[in-house]
């Protein structure tokens, strides 16, 4: 158990150290002091309520996309499509929302929105799952290609049919706007953090229970570890594949509620803006475990909000570079850490 935890945590620590070194070099190249920049980054994120609220808002979306990718990886499937699934979930929810009359109570609207977002993302996820199960088409490529197709389609629908003139967003949704955290804690005033955060945490808990405490979860993990063996053991691997991809897409899709219902109350073209891809990083760094995913989402949200906090001193893209360094370093150190730890264990 202790070694498992070491195996899970060590790569992230190694990666953060490497990222800190790369960050120092880049900051020095820009003629600034690393100490100042890192202090600014912390002050702008965890140092004040507004900044922290923004971190929580970004954590929410990244938790959904991270969980979506992690679920896929548990079944041995690499869902690179969280970006378009997130967008499709938000889009379908907004579409339904535009048809709902104002004044409906949240107890009615919330389940409707959840279902709409889950269907939107779930359909986009199920297609590559079915293509894999039926034709053996590799989901990495099909999800990447579907990202482009779905985002172009949504762009067309908004630009050609649904936009408010002069913008790329729909009209305001009247029904079922969700409460901001600032409604309960006034200090969060101005930040976009909202109650979808709690939904994200609930989904993380539910996914943990599903993966590690149910028969289906066991079948999913068995499929991920060794599909041939799982098939031999009576698991219908093809069915697991498409169902997992559908569920993965649904989870990413529900993440769209954070922007659409929790923040803007309309659908805006390209609102996902990379959160689906960062979700891959979140899943990898969180080692495909729901708890790890939430923590990794917090880390990446902090970095992304921190970029805005330091932008006056060094370009905010330094954070994009460091996020990529973290991903590469974690991916490269996972096999290495495992090898070293296991060799140590046999001595």
């Amino acid at each position: 158990m202790k070694r498992q935890l070491q195996e899970a945590v060590l790569p992230a620590i190694v990666a953060l150290l490497i990222a800190a070194i790369v960050g120092d070099v880049l900051i020095l190249a820009f003629g600034q002091s690393p100490g100042t920049v890192y202090r600014l980054l912390l002050e702008g994120t965890w140092g004040n309520a507004y900044g922290f609220g923004q971190v929580l808002y970004k954590t929410t979306t990244l938790t959904f996309t991270g969980l979506a990718v992690a679920l896929g990886l548990r079944a041995g499937l690499f869902n690179v499509g969280a970006e378009s699934q997130l967008a499709a979930g938000g889009f379908v929810a907004a579409l339904v929302g535009l048809m709902l009359p104002a004044g409906l109570p949240a107890i009615v609207t919330l389940p409707v929105y959840l279902l709409a977002a889950a269907i939107g993302g779930g359909v986009v996820g199920a297609v590559p799952g079915a293509l894999r199960a039926r034709f053996g088409a590799h989901e990495v490529i099909t999800t990447i290609m579907l990202n482009y197709i779905v985002l172009a389609l949504l762009n067309y629908l908004v630009a050609a049919h649904l936009k408010v003139e002069g913008t790329l967003h729909t009209q305001d949704i009247q029904a079922g706007a969700l409460a901001r955290l600032s409604d309960f804690v006034p200090a969060f005033h101005g930040s976009a953090a909202n109650v979808v955060l709690f939904l994200a945490l609930a989904v993380a808990a539910a996914l943990w229970w599903f993966l590690f405490r149910t028969k289906q979860g066991y079948e999913i993990r068995a499929t991920g570890l060794q599909p041939e063996a799982a098939e031999y053991g009576g698991v219908k691997v093809g069915a697991v594949w498409w169902k997992v991809m559908a569920l993965s897409g649904a989870i990413a899709g529900v993440g769209g509620l954070n922007f659409v219902l929790g923040y803007k109350h309309y659908y805006e073209d390209a609102f996902a803006s990379g959160a689906g891809f960062v979700g891959i990083a979140v899943a990898i760094v969180g080692r495909n475990h729901p708890v790890g995913v939430v923590l990794a989402a917090l880390l990446f949200a902090t970095m992304s909000q921190g970029g805005l906090a330091v932008n006056a001193v060094v370009p905010k893209q330094i954070v994009d570079v460091l996020q990529a360094v973290v991903i590469i370093a974690v991916a490269a150190s996972v096999p290495e850490v495992r090898r070293v730890l296991r060799r140590g264990g046999n001595r």
């Binding site: 088409a137 490529i141 482009y148 389609l153 630009a159 893209q317 994009d320 996020q323 590469i328 096999p335």
Partner: protein, 293 residues
């Protein structure tokens, strides 16, 4: 005359795809997933512009682009081969890395997060953009040469045979004495250099680097690699097909026959169809994405 203009524009659009898809074929046939093509192209566009800016010579720009692309691809290869990192994860991260890094260095070098200053490039703008101007751009010829060169290397040289063996069955390749890891490093470097030339074509043609100027072309090239079933000539045909569709869309702009978004989908939709095997399934190299033990 309209036909010539159409062909000229198709070729202009296809050239970066030809370079990058040739690189994609080399990489994937050796067993390395080519998800980083977009990053190699963008890095090549940036390094090409920088080298051309400081030297005033676009040929030095090309050298700079190749050096940048090779360096980025080797970073990917070291993570994937030496450290056995997941190729899909690192490939995606490489793209994020280069998007961020080019913007960062843009501000470091030129105090702008959007554009470089004007750099010297190929082509004389006074000639216009027809076939004559096109023929005067050496990168057009290099692009055609890249396709033929990769095909010759892959099918007619001992190295090409080793590369294909490495991508199909690394264990068998090792057993006959092929240095599998070294072959993959070389394949990665070659793919990085080729894709970078495609990127440099963009920045040198526009005499300027602008942030994220490759705009997904690396993924269209990856689509062409797969739609062309990992064969250099078929991939080149796929590039021309995709470029022709784009040209058609540009020519039809304003007429509203087909919304541009639907034309954008063509390469990606065709690739999914090819992978699903509706008309003869595209089968990837057997050891694609796998660690060579």
């Amino acid at each position: 005359m309209i036909l010539f203009a159409f062909l000229a524009q198709t070729l202009r659009i296809a050239i970066p795809y030809l370079f990058a898809a040739s690189g994609g074929v080399v990489s994937e046939r050796s067993g390395l997933v080519a998800l980083g093509l977009e990053g190699y192209m963008l890095g090549g566009a940036f390094c090409g512009a920088i080298a051309s800016y400081y030297s005033g010579n676009p040929w030095i720009g090309l050298l700079g682009a190749v050096a940048g692309g090779v360096a980025i691809a080797l970073l990917y290869a070291v993570a994937a081969i030496r450290f056995r990192a997941d190729q899909v994860v690192v490939g995606i991260a490489i793209n994020l890395l280069i998007i961020g890094a080019t913007r960062f260095f843009l501000r470091l070098f030129f105090h702008s997060s959007a554009n470089s200053p004007r750099v010297s490039g190929f082509g004389d703008e006074r000639v216009g953009s027809g076939l004559v101007a096109l023929a005067g751009n050496p990168l057009i010829w290099l692009g055609v040469l890249a396709v033929a060169g990769v095909a010759w290397m892959l099918y007619r040289t001992p190295f090409g045979l080793r590369l294909r063996a490495t991508g199909e069955h690394p264990a068998a390749a090792v057993s006959v004495g092929i240095p599998v890891d070294r072959v993959r490093y070389l394949a990665a470097a070659l793919s990085g250099g080729l894709a970078a030339l495609g990127g440099a074509y963009l920045s040198l043609d526009q005499h300027q680097f602008s942030a994220e100027m490759t705009a997904g072309r690396g993924f269209i090239a990856l689509a062409a690699t797969i739609f062309g079933r990992w064969d250099p000539f078929r991939a080149a045909l796929a590039c021309l097909l995709f470029a022709a569709a784009e040209t058609l869309q540009i020519q039809l702009q304003g007429t509203q026959v087909v919304p541009s978004q639907f034309v954008e989908m063509i390469p990606f939709a065709l690739t999914i169809v090819a992978l699903a095997g509706v008309v003869g399934r595209a089968v990837p190299p057997a050891a694609l994405g796998k660690v060579a033990e």
